[in-house]
Amino acid sequence: MATLSLDKVSKRFGETEVLHGIDLEIADQEFVVFVGPSGCGKSTLLRLIAGLEPISGGTLRVNDADMTRVPPARRDIAMVFQSYALYPHMDVYENMAFGVRILGLTKDEIDGRVHEAARMLQLEPLLKRKPRELSGGQRQRVAIGRAITRKPKVFLLDEPLSNLDAALRSQVRLEIARLHREIGGTMIYVTHDQIEAMTLADKIVVMNEGRIEQVGSPRELYETPANAFVGTFIGSPKMTLVTARREGRRFSLSDGGAIEADAPADAKGDVMLGMRPDALTLTRDRTAEGFEAETVYTEYLGNEAYAYVRLADGTMAAVAVPPNEDYGPDEPVRVQARSGMLHFFDPESGRRLRHGSLADERGDFNRVEQARR
């Protein structure tokens, strides 16, 4: 049982401030994912919560107790490292028992906990092996096992899947989701992989340059990104951003054609359009309304396909196309928008413009949430 509360937490390394006043509330049993490009400070924030780096400013509370200056050993937090950090000279059993022994439990209790964790993670046949005799996926499970034997209040996972190959990654991802259901506990998970973020999280924290860009459920982030950064970061292939001139319902690129869409009330003059691949369609009819474009290449993925086209202003845009349609390179096409699926951002600040298309209510809900915080 643990809630975490970060109040204006900041981190400086020498003169450089890498985290600027992070405010964040994490509820009990919540699965929170910090996501962002490399260097955004997500791993640093995790290490601050762990206590491995001292907090330069602000306060960290766990269950309303001030933990800002408490050493990691007394925070009751366990962490799974990107490198697994298994003790190479101890076998799997000793690795998992190390933390529990320090708790000062009896031999039977230690044994019980290690075997319980080993059973949960299917590690029982491996207990006598050394880490170097294990495969990547097995090491990963031992690292998780080491964290759960201590029965901590909070689990921190620092890019735990980044050293695994793709097939194993989705499998361990499922296991982590299952573990969270089984053992409960508050989990904070750091990744740069938005698929992990979307599939695992109750709540995603999108970070960029030491600041939180947006906090919300995967659906909120996808449907109502608070700004252009979140819009392009979540979703694959990426959302395309173009700055278009608005005239009523028409949004035109200079010498590049125009599309029609319902626009938010406060979109005036130039507007930044956020267009996800599935919000766009292609047509070969060159007399049709739409942005003028030229195909560059197509990605065929079997059940779906994406065409990458170059708009008149040079922007590359990804467009979802029916997999049975083939587009060669350098074909002149028109890009059209599906009504109600565009995002509108302020071209200066990148902030989401109000009364966006389909997600009016969510947008409002999100704003209220943010205002409340």
Binding site: P72, I77, M79, A85, Y87, P88, F98, R132, R150
Partner: protein, 290 residues
């Protein structure tokens, strides 16, 4: 492993056989010759340990009668050899112990904790490598006299520990820096104290480097003649190299007994060296192959 071997063999076959063969053969000849040059004096020492003085002078390189153990008997019964051996083991053992304990602790602090002057401290230790302690024998003698340590084995242990620390701190600092920090962080998250981290995580992993440091210091300390000569007067406190000189008389020397004594003196250190080398090689290769 087999895959690596196979690919290496394939690569060797590609590089036309003959040139490589001559190159390898030359290398082997050179190594064998070198081994012979290194081992020959040792062999002569061991062989002559079984001979009488007369035999040594008449046929120094001949094979002796190995049943003639009179020299060894003479050492065991007629000299304080066992006493010297005990003293050498005591002094060398304690010195190596202190060097490893103090050196590793200092190296861990320098390698891992960011504190003011840590770089300077490392430099201070390394500067010790450049100072030949024998040059400082007179101040050292005065220091030992003032501390009342003259003619005690503790004086030797102090000097040897000081002598061994620079290289040990240097080796260990470099090694500990290569250990992943995540391991310590993981232990910290597991609730371990700094001392527990040092003892249960760092020390076992630093063992190969500690073996290197031990080997590096073991032989010079065991063989040292100079400091015991200056500091130790009492017969019962003498170490082996110093003690063995009593076998050399002013007018006549029993070479057979002396060689037997040298053989016995060299035997333990050679054995320890072989055992530690094996450890050291194991340590070097165990982590290297995933």
């Amino acid at each position: 492993m087999t895959a690596v071997d196979a690919s290496r063999n394939a690569a060797a076959r590609e590089r036309s056989g003959l040139g490589v063969f001559t190159q390898d053969a030359l290398l082997q000849i050179f190594l064998i010759a070198n081994t012979f040059i290194m081992l020959f004096p040792i062999l002569v020492m061991v062989l002559n340990g079984f001979k009488t003085n007369a035999e040594i002078f008449s046929s120094p390189f001949a094979l002796p009668n190995f049943q003639n153990l009179s020299n060894f008997e003479a050492i065991a019964t007629g000299t304080s050899f066992v006493r010297y051996l005990f003293n050498s083991v005591l002094v060398t053992g304690l010195s190596i112990g202190f060097i490893l304990i103090l050196g590793t602790m200092a190296a861990y602090a320098i390698a891992r904790y960011a504190f003011r002057g840590s770089g300077l401290l490392l430099l201070f230790f390394i500067a010790g490598l450049t100072v030949p302690l024998k040059l400082a024998i007179i101040p050292l003698f005065i220091l030992m006299r003032d501390l009342g340590l003259l003619d005690t084995q503790f004086s030797l242990i102090c000097v040897y520990t000081a002598m061994g620390l620079p290289s040990t701190v240097f080796i260990m600092t470099g090694f500990i820096r290569t250990l992943p920090r995540d391991l310590e962080d993981a232990a910290r998250m597991d609730g371990a104290s700094e001392f527990k981290i040092m003892r249960s995580v760092i020390l076992p992993l630093a063992r190969p480097a500690m073996v290197i440091a031990a080997i590096q210091n073991l032989v010079p300390i065991w063989n040292d003649f100079f400091f015991p000569l200056v500091f130790i007067q009492t017969e019962s406190l003498k170490t082996l190299p110093q003690g063995l000189t009593t076998f050399m008389g002013e007018y006549n020397t029993n070479w057979g007994v002396l060689f037997a004594g040298l053989t016995l003196a060299a035997a333990p250190i050679t054995l320890v060296y072989i055992v530690l080398s094996r450890q050291f090689i194991n340590g070097m290769t165990s982590g290297a192959v995933k």
